[in-house]
Symmetry: D2
Subunit: 359 residues, 4 copies
């Protein structure tokens, strides 16, 4: 179904941007795990808006309320259900958008898909706000992965063409992941980060927005996990990651760069290190034939620039069948990439825990 | 499951490179459709090897044998099952690879996943040969899509960095798709195609291989098809396309280039043309919020260079736990991109027909 | 997943008997449907406890709170999420049951399945209380079915061997269904109903419980819906109905009685009535080959007697590995069959709407 | 999908009664298992026709041909695909049935479902012949279960009201199962078996048919396997078992008899035997809350009488919209219950192995 992901564990996301609440139901979690709610809150805070100049002014009290699935703080085998109330919303900002769809948004396609009955307020079910319950589910999965020695981390790889330093594809370690995720602006190279923030500020000043890319790594993921053909790690990660709003591209390991290499360059030679089989390079991004090699799992995601910009844009009136200028007055991030970093980690964590539990 | 794709129709692929047969079972096809077997054979011929200098010398008699699912040449509602016999195989070429995995192949990961019991001959279930039944299933879906006015076509977008001309993202039409698919080397710009073939020939002469990219378009796909979040067209296409061997990257519309644009550039303004709502540009690749806009669906795939190269490579002996030089003696394409073009069309067609039938 | 049902619509149930809340998420509902909340409440009231002598003394304020999925009272395409708060609970009643499992309950098996971390309070996720959100989901589906001319109704077919009159398998009509569901004790023959209530009162007086059967019918369900083999209406209904606590048997149409008939008796002859193809009898229960015939859909369910009885029972201490007498002190229905009637309707409605939407 | 079952392993059945072949694809089997093909053939022989007076005269050469999934006789992780050729078929017997549907068969419903394009020859995809590949898949699963100490066996519990002795619900052991399955007519009490065969012979002489019931047990299945609500063992078994042609009823443990018991009778008291927790009785059929108790799994199935009988029956001409007498001339079993015994074992084995692999 559309708002569900996973096979051994299933995460169902519900809510609209301005409905009474948003939330998630996670079915299939192993019983007996003590959830660290402080860590969950800290993780959710990483995607919360209103912290910096590059973020929307809208404030969200993303306090998760657990409805079920825990007994004395531990998972009990029953589905873990959670909600986050929707507080500070200005629904009237959106009413005029029902007839005049915003370019680059799902307004037009949702209107066709749901026959005009979609909830237009704040983007409805298509809102980036729905990534909050996704992050909640991911936070739980991240804790369970860490218990199994698997660490997932991401950073802003580029904004508006300004590139961060990459993870070392062979030697990236949990400490590297933690170092970058602890920063308020998640880059490895802070100078690059400053230049990115400058790009974002410029775009905002121009009533415009910018896109970027995120690199994500998983370290400690065991070798031999995954399946061939349509159920490989790449397929499963892709199915989840394209569920993050604004994602338009995904590559594993060398990705598109591999298409320009020769086999002798791109092939990762095998070697032995203290009895373990490793590869000298990691162009494969830790996945061969859909199955993990034991090297770091690595992928990049492309995010398009925030479609909501304050400039006037060309649209049409669907009812009157004529062109119409559109000016969007809501509050929007000039770049969603910084806040998307934990969302990427969350989506990856759900898929990786799901794969581990099925092994 | 690993070798299945689809929800309203399900395609199950079976076989190993050197098993008695490979094949597919397609469940859920609408009844009453007259399958054009000549067209199916012509489609399969596009991926068959042995036609050109850039392809492997191995000859495959890819004659599909229908086992069930048709009655008097028409689909009858029962699963459509098909097999292709495995004829010209030289199994002894592969025996030595069980212990010394080929870099860039699934030999090592399959060995872990299946505890050493995987079929190593010809790559087993991980072989590119399994794309033959995938193409069969795709050929059926393509015919059913054409009946519904939807046309899918792909071309070699680049080989080793040499780029073909792109499809016009707004105006690409069925005739454009047919023009390129009719060519023995599927490029729009034949001069670029000649340069690509030169690159492939050089790589072969150097006992090496090259990668490339493929662009695929679907024209006539109705607006309003798809679902939000994890079941959008991007998610579903991604889950299928990463099932094609050697695919390491995927982008929709502007993809990674969108990450360097501003919102004012990347947003596709809406306009009216003869009463239909269109977009002036198509950076979205015909998909917003997981749902089709009615514009051409567009995506690019990155293929890594063929991992099987004739040069000596560094590997390890898994049993003796020591480094070992590996020389691969089988017959392999120096570039699999040309033969992958119909495979991409097939995988896309399965997903798009599946989505249409669910609407 | 364990607490989910459906393919075109998916119902996910969450909660434990004594967690903060229980609820449901329904994904895939058609957009634009105006939910009649008064009718939903009236339906939920039919399974609510505390109304009669045969029901538990526990009072539940089963007021459903809609969290998302509606916009201006109509379904908007986003998942419909709902919760019911858990108010009047006496958790201490259950603490001693963690070590000494109740015969006939899931205490023992849950303990094994969840490693002792299951929520024992009130039966946790295995509680009959979880049928409240199931009824909510069913109430929505029933309304959508009625809009499509399909009516589902059930009655108490027997309690402790006392049988109600059956539905007419050929001529049962919506009015018949509504007549019985309007009654506080849902039987066709009120004299039989009085005798059943007498049986229940006797069992209660004896600190014991009784079981019974429920017959359910769906009228107006179109012919030609369903699929062969593992996805027929019988398979789908069975998968849902065995999810109702205490169900131990299911038969369609003549069911077990058909096993004692001859083919010449059991076969339903075809006939024409005003141009429609009907059957003279309906031993098939409206389903042949997994596909609806257009006749009323009919099935019976067997419910075991409530396992929670006030008498002392033989159990064991799991920790001390020795026999132990168990006395259950909570409040429990001496017969759950009367309250299960709307639950059966709900489960059937979910499956039938799901099947219709997929057709 | 309609012709698939399973989650951790998936069995896909294909074929029509008179298509070129029928077969199965089993995806997800553990690698490294040495399949005993002699045992598979012996199992298939148990459902093969033409062995006795009560069976159809049609002879089927049910020799399974393995297409893929084995390497050197062992499962290799790739899908195990198998076909059985369709040899001795008399297609002309069936042509007249397209317009005049047989009472009790799927002719009418298939005609609606597939718009008249269904394969009518021999019942097409709805034919009992499709249970041959199901038995093949079950035979593999039975071998894998035995390796894990789980044994599944069934017997004819009744024919036309003549009852066999039941399995001992508490003490049934593998030897009991093997004793009955080794018999040509699978009953525990041979005198009852003789009476059943007499009933079948009488029905045949009367140009009629009889139904019956089958009891199935699984011994050695570990405690604690299964899931609550919609994914319990009962739900999963039910979804598979109603896929067997002619099944109209299913009950676990005491089943419908439990509905007439009191709680004090039906509850199975816990006791300890050599440190293991057992139950004194087994009215639950080895399942509480959808999860196995460790006691024998037990269920009964009701089979309707063979709908194909040689007597003239009332039907209608679908094209001419008028009543029509129908005489069926093909060869049919007067009772399918004896041949259905291994089919029930096969379906149960698939579900139980699937559940074990997911644990």
């Amino acid at each position: 179904m559309s708002s569900q992901i996973g096979k051994n564990i299933t995460v169902s996301i519900f809510g609209q941007s301005h409905s009474q609440a948003i939330g998630a139901v996670i079915d299939g979690l192993p019983a007996g795990f003590a959830v660290d709610m402080e860590k969950v809150r800290a993780f959710l805070a990483r995607r919360a808006p209103g912290r910096a100049a590059y973020a929307t002014a809208r404030r969200e009290a993303d306090e998760p309320i657990i409805l079920s699935g825990l007994a004395e703080g531990k998972t009990c085998g029953a589905p873990l259900a959670m909600l986050i109330g929707n507080g500070d919303t200005r629904s009237k900002d959106y009413e005029k958008l029902r007839d005049v769809p915003r370019p680059g948004h799902a307004d037009f396609t949702a209107n066709l898909r749901y026959g005009g009955f979609q909830d237009v307020r704040g983007g409805g079910h298509f809102s980036g706000r729905l990534t909050a319950p996704l992050c909640f589910a991911g936070a739980i999965c991240l804790q369970m992965l860490e218990q199994r020695g698997v660490f997932v981390g991401a950073h802003i790889a580029s904004v508006a063409g300004v590139a961060d330093a990459p993870f070392d594809p062979v030697r990236v370690c949990p400490a590297d992941l933690q170092a970058v995720s602890a920063k308020p602006f998640a880059v490895i190279d802070d100078a690059a980060g400053a230049a990115m923030q400058e790009k974002i500020a410029q775009a905002k000043a121009d009533l415009d927005s910018v896109g970027g890319t995120i690199e994500c790594a998983a370290v400690g993921f065991p070798a031999g996990i995954g399946d061939p053909m349509f159920d490989g790690l790449e397929n499963r990660l892709a199915a989840a990651l394209f569920g993050i709003p604004a994602v338009k591209g995904l590559e594993f390991g060398a990705g598109f760069a591999a298409a320009e290499m020769r086999g002798s360059q791109n092939n990762d030679p095998f070697l032995l290190e203290e009895g373990r089989v490793l590869t000298k390079t990691n162009h494969a991004g830790g996945i061969l034939g859909g199955i993990s090699t034991g090297m770091p799992l690595l992928f990049h995601l492309a995010f398009k620039p925030t479609p909501s910009i304050a400039r006037a844009q060309d649209s049409v009136s669907l009812s009157r069948k004529k062109p119409e200028k559109l000016e969007i007055t809501g509050r929007h991030d000039p770049c969603i990439v910084p806040r998307a970093v934990p969302v990427v980690e969350a989506a990856a964590a759900i898929v990786l825990l799901d794969a581990l539990l099925g092994a």
